[in-house]
Amino acid sequence: MTSDPNSTPSSDIRIDLLLIADLIEPGSRVLDVGCGDGSLLHHLAQAKKADGRGIELSQAGVNACVAHGLSVVQGDADTDLVNYPTAAFDYVVLSQTLQQVRHPRDVLCELLRIGRRVVISIPNFGHWKVRWKLALTGRMPVTEALNRQWYDTPNSHFCTIKDFVILCADLGIQIERQNSTDMQGRRMPIVGAGSLANLFSEQGVFLLSRPADHSSTAPGAG
């Protein structure tokens, strides 16, 4: 890891991270799960005066973050979220990672236990290009958005936007806001939140919360 400690990681922040940052109130306590090189945390600290913490699986990412003065620990969303106390953060962010964890449903429940609100983005396996390729070629789709072969993709649990919305309903999770975007995070306002979103958006970005009366404990693993 040879990044320049004087450079700032947010200088070229991705559009999808800006979209996530837009959903976060200023002055919040934020946990970014899978925070990468810390771009979002850095942006939130600068632009929103947020008290940010991060978890990152890759050692290079963690070291880059800490070398930039960010509070980040090396850890795994599947195993390490259990250590955090309930309602410790105003927001927990999980960007493009849910499909990579071993137990997405458990992780989702943990996120909503730790944070009062959760901002989550998922790639949409229901996008028309994906459907088209699978139907036409009979092979696992490789698109610009999902550009890895089945044997070397880190994504082990694909879902569609519709699948995710149904899971939220099953778990009693409230979707406060839903944005459809392309993979670069550019908003696609026309497609809305229904079946059109599931067909035309490459990525779904959700602001979730759990109704106050709902139990915050995760159901048993299925």
Binding site: P5, V62, N63, H68, S71, V72, V73, Q74
Partner: protein, 391 residues
């Protein structure tokens, strides 16, 4: 405040060590964990850099088992470099052009701070085994008294590796409101059975040496050379990794072309260890070795908080940076991660970096650029959040 005006008030005569000393616990003795009241006692310490106007630039360095107060520059006793020159000095991560670095020889040590080889004022003879058993918390209490004496209320950062890391952790628990940030490296919240076992081998080697005389060797004008040397050899193995040892020595022979069919130092690694043992005896007190290894064995932050380590860090205002090393099998990443999990459970502000290094436990003393970069960044972040106020 110019701290250099205050030194050398306490100790004079044949015991006077090089460097600065403070006589502490004169009016109110230090009540040790074992119940004994110790005082007055001497703390030998060094400072590097200049304390700034608002006293906001203090770094407390805590030394490891056989370290001392001479962290950088030339050690006036040995004439050799200090033990942490890559970390502390002008332009180094703990930059003495910017920070005021304090390091004290621990209680029970043998480099000028009161310990088992010091003269017991009651008997006029060295304490030996009549010296009370010291804990890591006792060491930290003594350091806090030293900082009081120096007029320092709040520490910008406390750091150390191994036993030094234990002290840093204890600082954040016992004096959380005095510690802005902490960097424990290659450390643990308690000693494992394996750690204790290794220490016990060393202690038995010392106590089994007839020259030890039940700890009273100074009265017999002797020192348990063989025992202390073996203790050091065994410990030294635990500070290196298998990879580092293999790289350095392999199976290479020492000053010979073929094995001797005897028990001389055929192998380079044997010769190296014997040398390490021999030079250690010249600089370290055997009874001190017993006391300090015991302090590490007794260290247990987890049981201090009834089995819930997270409770140790509840409402902690301290910013933590936990550092472990991949090649450290003595205080492996897993035990460092236990501290991280506890800090997470307390919603404390924590960073955790595992540095890729195959150099073993001693990596924190060595040239590890990733570690330096981490610490520079962490200190930068800590400086942005400095508040001199104490709750």
């Amino acid at each position: 405040m110019d701290s250099t005006q205050r030194h050398d008030e306490a100790v004079s005569g044949p015991e006077a060590p090089a460097g600065q000393t403070a006589l502490l616990g004169v009016e109110t003795p230090l009540t040790l964990d074992c119940g004994v009241e110790l005082g007055p006692f001497t703390v030998a310490y060094e400072t590097y850099g200049k304390l700034n106007e608002d006293r906001s630039n203090v770094i407390l360095a805590c030394h490891a088992l056989t370290g001392d107060q001479f962290v950088t520059g030339t050690n006036p006793i040995s004439g050799k470099p200090g033990w942490w020159p890559l970390m502390i000095g002008p332009g180094q991560p703990f930059d003495t052009d910017r920070y005021f670095v304090v390091c004290a020889n621990v209680l029970g040590g043998c480099m000028g701070t009161t310990g088992p080889k010091s003269i017991d004022p009651k008997t006029g003879k060295p304490y030996g085994l009549s010296f009370p058993v010291i804990t890591i918390k006792d060491m930290v209490r003594a350091q806090a008294m030293l900082l009081d004496y120096l007029g320092i209320q709040k520490i910008f950062c406390v750091s150390g590796g191994s036993m030094g890391g234990m002290q840093a952790l204890q600082w954040t628990v016992t004096y959380s409101d005095r510690v802005h940030s902490a960097i424990p490296m290659g450390s643990a919240a308690h000693h494992t059975a394996q750690n204790i076992a290794l220490h016990e081998v060393g202690r038995q080697a010392i106590m089994g040496d007839p020259d030890w005389h039940g700890g009273d060797y100074l009265s017999h004008n002797t020192i348990p050379r063989a025992g202390l040397s073996v203790a050091r050899m065994a410990a030294h193995i635990s500070y290196l990794s298998e990879a580092a040892m293999h790289r350095k020595f392999g199976r290479q022979l020492q000053d010979r072309d073929t094995i001797s069919y005897g028990f001389g130092a055929d192998f380079q690694v044997e010769s190296y260890l014997r040398h390490q043992g021999t030079i250690f005896v010249e600089r370290f007190d055997a009874n001190s070795y017993l006391y300090l290894t015991r302090a590490m064995d007794y260290f247990d932050l987890i049981s201090e908080f009834q089995g819930v380590l997270g409770d140790a860090f509840k409402h902690s205002p301290t910013r933590f940076c936990i550092i472990s090393f991949t090649g450290d099998w003595l205080f492996p990443t897993s035990v460092n991660r236990t501290i991280v999990h506890a800090l997470n459970a307390a919603a404390a502000n924590v960073s955790f970096v595992e540095v890729e290094s195959d150099k073993g436990h001693d990596a924190f003393l060595l040239d590890e650029p990733e570690m330096f970069e981490t610490i520079r960044g962490f200190l930068k972040g800590a400086a942005e959040h400095w508040s001199g106020d104490t709750p």
